[in-house]
């Protein structure tokens, strides 16, 4: 078939050449099919996603600059030390353990992430904890300005004060981070505001209803910058969720369901008790403070969240995160009414706060109910779902929108096959291509609910760090942070309404005119 020319090279006749290229036209078929598919996707996207073109993202991170802000740390327990390290002051032993774990597990990036965490230009000049061992740990963390592991070079040690009143008198303190039990949040915030110190306070904002008004007044009169510790505010997907709802992608929203699903002693606040702890190294009288007197109890000291005497229970500890997320996304404000039920059904360990709780918040003006349901005895995954007539949104660290099969708005597109209600219409996963290991079940729980990490420019960052950064940037620029005292007022009142309803076994109402719970 082939012929050779004079040089001995093969010469192909036309038929041969055509045959050898015979598959190319079929390739054209594939290219055409692919082009059609891309067109179809583009059409589908442009039809559906023009309204869904969600462009919102958190404000870009710029480097914190300006004068050094001098911090006082008040309370250095479980949450207090997370706040300190988010501010850039991790205890040397913690850094050692991260380093060790990163060596054993290459997907454990906590050490790397911490070392890369931006320096917020802060200095810890004072600390206060009523338990000597934790106070010493706070001093070591505050002195760890070079982010060294154990044995490394330390900076100047902050002064330890035995009471917060003394700390607030220190002229070398510009701002305080409060990580105490709930019953101390308001008294310390009020005193700090009166002393002119800026405040970052852990949630919930208050332990009782009356002090809620006092906190708002003290903060507003003093003009300090106040940030309440709902770090979920920094979650990237919440910005998208808010935009989607503003663009009315979900249609009329009538029901929101938020949940807490935990099933471990740690998740149920049964924290370990330090062996070294005793009456001589804990200032028990100061711990009690505004709470009713009780004889010294290590259980009560370390597991204070289990007693109403110091805690706000599920409402203050976990409902508030869910409430604040929805308030951030939908500007819900204080509900018109709240109705709670539940009980101590699993942890019969002497606690007084319930381990199962349901609270229904009504918003008749918005035509919607927000239902909170919590258990500390099952991790069965129940989402955080916003239900609209046309679509529903699942919101955790990512965001998924599914069209409702009976939607009126998307009726035509469902009929044309452009929308399949069984397949998410929109999925948004921050840092989708990132891989990071998250370790303990409690950490996984928080991470799944967007309370631990978010992503900025494709990089994983601790949301608590972002929340503290926002606060210090606001102090330097004289701005108000996202979870300011007004947002805190909503959060505290909603939580108190839920708690009062639980205690009094009745529906409680918010009197908008009098700004009172009735």
């Amino acid at each position: 078939m082939e012929e050779s020319n004079k040089d001995g090279k093969y010469k192909f006749n036309r038929r041969e050449i055509l045959k050898s290229l015979a598959t190319i036209p079929v390739l054209g078929g594939l290219a055409y099919g692919w082009y059609r598919k891309l067109q179809y996707d583009r059409l589908r996207n442009s039809k559906l996603l023009s309204q869904l073109n969600l462009t919102a993202s958190p404000p870009p991170l710029k480097k914190s600059s300006g004068e050094k802000i001098r911090l006082g740390l008040i309370g250095y327990g479980g949450r207090g030390n997370h706040l300190a390290r988010a501010a850039g002051f991790a205890h040397p032993e913690l850094i050692s353990s991260w380093k060790e774990e990163a060596r054993e597990n290459p997907t454990d990036h906590r050490y790397r992430d911490y070392m890369e965490q931006e320096d917020l230009k802060l200095e810890v000049t004072a600390i206060c904890d009523i338990y000597d061992i934790r106070a010493n740990n706070a001093i070591q963390a505050g002195a760890n300005i070079h982010r060294n592991p154990s044995g490394g070079e330390m900076g100047k040690a902050p002064i330890r004060y035995k009471t917060y009143q003394e700390l607030l008198k220190d002229k070398n303190v510009d701002a305080v981070i409060i990580g105490t039990p709930d019953h101390w949040h308001a008294p310390i915030t009020i005193a700090a505001a009166k002393a002119g110190k800026h405040v970052y306070c852990e949630k919930p904002m208050t332990w009782t209803v009356p002090e809620t008004y006092d906190v708002v007044n003290a903060v507003k009169e003093s003009g300090i910058v106040f940030q309440l510790g709902h770090q979920g505010r920094q979650n990237e997907s919440y910005f998208k969720a808010r935009e989607a709802i503003e663009k009315d992608v979900l249609g009329k929203i009538t029901l929101i369901e938020v949940t807490t699903n935990r099933n471990s002693p740690n998740g149920a606040w049964v924290y370990p008790i330090d062996e070294e702890a005793n009456r001589s190294n804990i200032d028990w009288d100061q711990f009690i403070g505004p709470a009713p007197w009780h004889d010294f109890s290590l259980k009560r000291f370390f597991r204070w969240r289990c007693w109403w005497d110091y805690s706000t229970g599920l409402s203050g500890d976990l409902l508030t995160h869910e409430f604040d997320a929805m308030n951030q996304i939908m500007d819900l404000g204080i509900p018109a009414s709240a109705m709670s039920s539940g009980g101590i059904y699993y942890y019969k360990d002497g606690r007084t706060v319930p381990d199962v709780l349901q609270t229904a918040f009504e918003y008749p003006e918005r035509d919607l109910t927000m239902l909170y349901s919590a258990t500390l005895a099952s991790t069965r995954k129940r989402g955080r779902v916003i239900m609209g007539h046309d679509a529903s949104m699942d919101l955790s660290s990512n965001m998924i929108i599914n069209v409702d099969r009976d939607s009126d708005r998307y009726k035509e597109q469902i009929k044309e096959g452009l929308i399949n209600p069984d397949v998410p219409l929109y999925t948004y996963t921050p840092g989708q291509k990132q891989v990071d290991a998250i370790t303990s079940p409690t950490e996984q729980y928080f991470a799944g609910r967007g309370l631990l990490y978010s992503y900025r420019d494709g990089k994983r960052v601790d949301t608590t760090f972002l929340h503290i950064k926002e606060w210090v940037d606001c102090i330097r620029e004289g701005r108000q942070p996202s979870c300011n005292v007004d947002q805190g007022f909503h959060e505290a009142m909603a939580a108190h309404m839920g708690t009062i309803s639980y205690h009094e076994k009745r529906k409680v109402y918010w009197d908008e005119g009098k700004q009172k719970i009735v």
Binding site: Y10, T23, L30, P106, K433
Partner: protein
């Protein structure tokens, strides 16, 4: 090798189908900005589980894996389709498909969260595609219907 016309036809259809499949897999991944092999690799089981988990251990390695996967599929698919460096493409295809097979082997006692789209015991569609490639390796059509014809003739010279 002398084939009858029908033998040639079916072999060519088989070659085109596998080429089409692999090429389109690559193109689809290329045009999906959110595609990554992370989830699939994390779901791996079997004796090479650790190896697949290593692939996702750092964003750097993962980037290389994703890139190699997308462009590997496109190059292999295209090669098989138009009959260019067909033997190399077939061997590379067998290797790549074997990596897929071994990350989710349908062995007794292994469970996956990724839907497989069927019920398999040892033999699944990936394995059959690997075997079909082996057949194509032994029963070439690219020297008549493929660009390899020119390369083959030129190199013989």
């Amino acid at each position: 090798m002398k084939y009858t016309t029908w033998q040639k036809t079916w072999l060519l259809i088989l070659r085109l189908s596998i080429g089409w499949h692999l090429l389109y897999e690559g193109l689809a991944k290329l045009t999906n900005p959110n595609w990554s092999s992370v989830a699939y690799l994390m779901d791996s089981e079997g004796f090479l589980k650790n190896f697949y988990e290593w692939m996702v251990s750092s964003p750097g390695i993962l980037k290389v894996v994703d890139f190699a996967n997308i462009w590997g599929l496109i190059a292999i698919g295209l090669g098989i389709f138009i009959g260019l460096f067909t033997r190399v493409a077939i061997i590379a295809g067998i290797l790549l498909l074997s990596l897929y097979y071994l990350s989710h082997p349908p062995f007794v006692g292994l469970e996956y969260s990724f839907p497989s789209g069927g019920n398999y015991l040892f033999v699944n569609s990936i394995l059959i595609e690997i075997l079909a490639l082996a057949v194509l390796f032994k029963f070439p059509t690219q020297f008549e219907y493929g660009i390899d014809k020119f390369i083959c003739k030129s190199s013989k010279n």
